[in-house]
């Protein structure tokens, strides 16, 4: 009797072993959006969700202005054969020419896709890659992982990799400052914000200027500690955000004149991230301070011509109060709609809010984890 029982349970176990199933390719989630706005030049936009470090959950969403459908998580279903999907921590997203570039920081690669379909075209391996910019037929990617210095702290300088956008090969590299972040090209020169974040409390404070022809660093402009975002306006001025030290030095926004390559001005406004559209800068700040133990969230629109704050709110109050952790910010160049994402606690799905140019909430949708970077697709 006991022998029968034993064999039965053995058989049952063998049966169980074979009926577990496999992990499916995760299907996208489609949400129809109630929006009637006409768009003639912009077909849609991609949103890159960073995903928490270690989770391998960087994902790509797409909003289609013609079908008015928001599709969450398109990469895996569009490219089922790519092992381990998009990767770990998506840090930047840009469209250039007919390709979509996603910088996947902790997977040490730049994912290159077809801009219209998001189909995988190739990838470039760059360790600890951060942000991407373009000029001519080349892409420029900043990376923390440059040569290691032989001192006890093993300080590691950062570098910029130049990538040919047709062959996906790295053609040239140049070392810059410590832990370089965002970069932009103006008049044949590449400007890079160096944060020095690994070297706390000895943050870097320079913007590196690189001559694209010779691909050498021609100047280092001292700005402020812990630099992060760097964007150019249509007049060729460069705006750089500095994160401060989280104690007594607050964050701030600085302006560099690219004709003289000197620091021109600071706007004395707290800033974590911003978006430039025309002559306006839309800013948010999530300022953590160790002394108070609090995070202060502020918003602003600045007129870049006058350098004055036009308004301290660009979203309706009810929604603005709901946002726990503003993270991504973008303005549709054609419709002037404002997009703000809420990353919440970084380990749960975020929310994307769409506002009319005067700040009224038009629609909102659930995104992936840590929605962060936008890329608008033109027809």
């Amino acid at each position: 009797m006991k022998r029968i029982l034993f064999f039965l349970s053995a058989a049952g176990c063998i049966f169980l072993a074979s009926c577990r199933g496999d992990y499916p390719v995760i299907p996208p989630t489609e949400t129809p959006i109630n929006d009637t706005l006409k768009s003639t030049t912009i077909a849609g936009f991609y949103l890159l969700n960073e995903g928490n470090m270690g989770s391998n959950k960087a994902t790509l969403d797409y909003y289609d202005y013609t079908t008015r459908v928001y599709t969450k998580n398109i990469f895996a279903a569009t490219n089922p054969n790519v092992v381990a999907e998009l990767g770990d921590v998506g840090n930047d997203l840009k469209i250039y020419g007919n390709k979509l570039y996603a910088v996947i920081n902790c997977s040490n690669l730049v994912e290159i896709m077809d801009a219209r379909t998001a189909k995988h075209l190739g990838m470039v391996e760059i360790a600890n890659c951060r942000y991407i910019a373009f000029s001519g037929d080349k892409a420029y990617v900043s990376s923390y992982a440059g040569p290691v210095q032989l001192n006890p702290n093993r300080d590691q300088i950062g570098y910029i990799a130049e990538i040919d956008t047709a062959t996906f090969q790295i053609t040239r590299t140049v070392t810059v400052g410590y832990q370089p972040e965002e970069l932009a090209v103006v008049n044949g020169k590449l400007y890079v914000a160096n944060s020095g974040g690994y070297r706390y409390p000895n943050y870097d404070k320079t913007v590196s200027v690189i001559d694209l022809a010779t691909f050498t660093e021609i100047k280092q402009i001292p700005v402020a500690i812990n630099l992060h975002r760097l964007k150019a306006d249509r007049h060729g001025r460069i705006y750089i955000s500095a994160r401060g030290d989280y104690y007594s030095i607050p964050s701030n926004l600085y302006i560099i004149d690219t004709n003289t390559d000197t620091l021109q001005d600071s706007l004395n406004i707290p800033v974590s991230n911003f978006c430039i559209e025309g002559d306006s800068a839309y800013i948010y700040s999530t300022q953590w301070n160790w002394n108070t133990g609090e995070t202060t969230i502020t918003y602003a629109i600045i007129n870049l011509a006058t350098k004055q704050v036009v308004n301290h709110h660009f979203m309706e109050a009810a929604t603005e109060e709901k946002i726990k952790t503003p993270y991504g910010i973008a303005v549709n160049p054609e419709t002037r709609e404002i997009f703000v994402t809420d990353a919440k606690n970084h380990v749960t799905p975020g929310t994307l809010y769409c506002f009319s140019p005067d700040g009224k909430l038009k629609w909102e949708v659930t995104t992936g984890d840590i929605p962060a970077h936008f890329a608008f697709l033109y027809y």
């Binding site: 074979s18 790519v82 381990a84 093993r154």
Partner: protein
Amino acid sequence: MTHLSTFKLCLFVLGGLLLQTPIVFADNAENAPDSIAKMYSIGEVEIVGAYRETEIIPPKKLDGVVLENLSCQSVADAVRYFSGVQIKDYGGVGGIKTINIRSMGTNQMGVFYDGIQLGNAQNGQIDLGRFSLDNMEAIELYNGQKSSMLQPAKDYGSAGTIYLQTKTPKFADGKRFHFGATFKTGSFGLANPALLWQQKIGRSASSSASVEYIHANGRYKFRHKRVNADGTIAYDTTAIRKNADINAIRSEISFCGTITDGEWKAHLYNYYSERGLPGYIARNLYEHHQRQWDDNFFVQSSFRKDFTSYYSLLANGKYAYDYTHYLNPDTTLQYINNTYRQQEIYLSLANSFRIFKWWEAALSTDFQWNTLASDMVDFVFPIRYTGLIALATAIKFPNIKMQAGLLSTFTHETVKRKKPAPDKQAFTPSVMATVRPWKHILFDIQFFYKRIFRMPTFNDLYYTFVGNAQLNPEYVSQYDFGLSYTYQSRTSAVTFFNVSTNLYYNDVDDKIVAVPTANPFRWQMTNLGKVKILGVDVSLKSGFQWCKHWNLDLLLNYTYQDARDLTDPNEAYYGDQIPYTPWHSGSVVGNLKYKTWNLNYSFIYTGERYNQSANIIENYVLPWYTHDLSLSKQFILKKVKLTAAAEVNNLFNQQYDVVLNYPMPGTNFKLILKAEL
């Protein structure tokens, strides 16, 4: 104290105090000469003059033949066979393994080594993977707390506890020493020799020394696979786990002895290891290079004496030193090279008073001093002073036993820079009861209520950039109702049978969680969580003996858990199952013995769960289950008892992760050779 010799009484008292359950397994002491394991079954025998401790609610227990034959490398593997337990296993021989009982979180758990708590004030986690089963006699699990009277205040201070009992020397008639050597080898490049020497000293004392060395390269294959909706394969790749090597040495020496109406024990323990941290798997990221060195040392001693038949004293003392060195040499990431040193001093005095035969009271006082030093930038060098006072009373009648306890905890901290956490004081109560409606039928109705908290760890409070010195302790209230039925017999084929079921409800408040600041690399600890857990545990334990030589032990466990995140009603995941908590889980262990042959089969099932708070498909984890099989044979060569065993684990090569992106090994095997003199 008439017909029992002093020698057998000594063993009995030691056994009774350390084992503390009425019966274990099949008693084959009277069997044929080729039966080797001699277990003394401890029945309901009253010895005049000697005091026997019994608990209100006995623990779940793994010991004896079953524990010895479980195909487990460490304590972490063994505790998976208790119901209500989840192990967070980062994979491989050297991967960290922490325990979580009834979803309350690993920091609420207490792990006791021979009655004294193992501490880790730095991060509150005890890596059970470091404790090998080689020197382990029994593992007990207490839900709520251990409910005996003569126990240190620390025993009241956790939401659930695991007690590890090391092997106490037991000498057969006439023998004065015992020597054992073990060698294990197998997958992962494992080479694992161990030596044990137990020596009788004089008439009432003995010593035990053991040394174990573990070496493994930690390499194993794992598979990454996804299928399309139509069933075709999207991708299917195999890779090898790298940088998972480990070299470790464990050395222990202990002395124990009995005195009139009491006993004492002193123990020295050291564990040194060097290991690679294989890290998480992600796209284009199949290898990490971080390394860690650890040294865990403690010296502890314990003294118990019944001064009169009314009063008993239990004194404990411990000093511990823990060293960790963490290195990240990876040039694609930030270079990190930090050391951490922790020290702990623990002193405890527990008194119990037998006012009447049915009424006892106890007063226990504990004091603890913890420090943490490190070369991290801006380190605060915290020191924590903890005082615990527990007052308890119990009534014991044949039909009903009840214990009520009140614990007062007081902490005070100092730091060298910034502000320390404010002083904390809290009272936490507990009530435990067992009702036996029919005196001669071992059917018990059990109940307990307990409220306890866990202090934020030093990392929670002070870790550079992350800690928050204003954190409150995390509280949990537990309500448990259980039924247990035991049947024992020396005559029928069923020698032992116990079935028990528990229904419980746990309420976690001010759960300490990490939330991000503006920079996702900088997180912040806050009291943000609220979790409610409803669960059912069912366990069955039975022993069969038939045809004189055949013996079967069977353990079955099943747990159902509903653990909901109720932190923020505005969030979409409000009410979702908390991460890594399966709704269904269970295990089966069967140990079949025939003369000198032993066959062990074990099965673990962990049901579907989610690896993040939102219960959405992106976070879904498939159920996993593994089958382990081991076969062993004992033989006698001259005077030496030899055991040879072979194990195959994860028999059907199931590919799974316990923790997201930390793959576990597929099929692996082990060969064990043991010699005992």
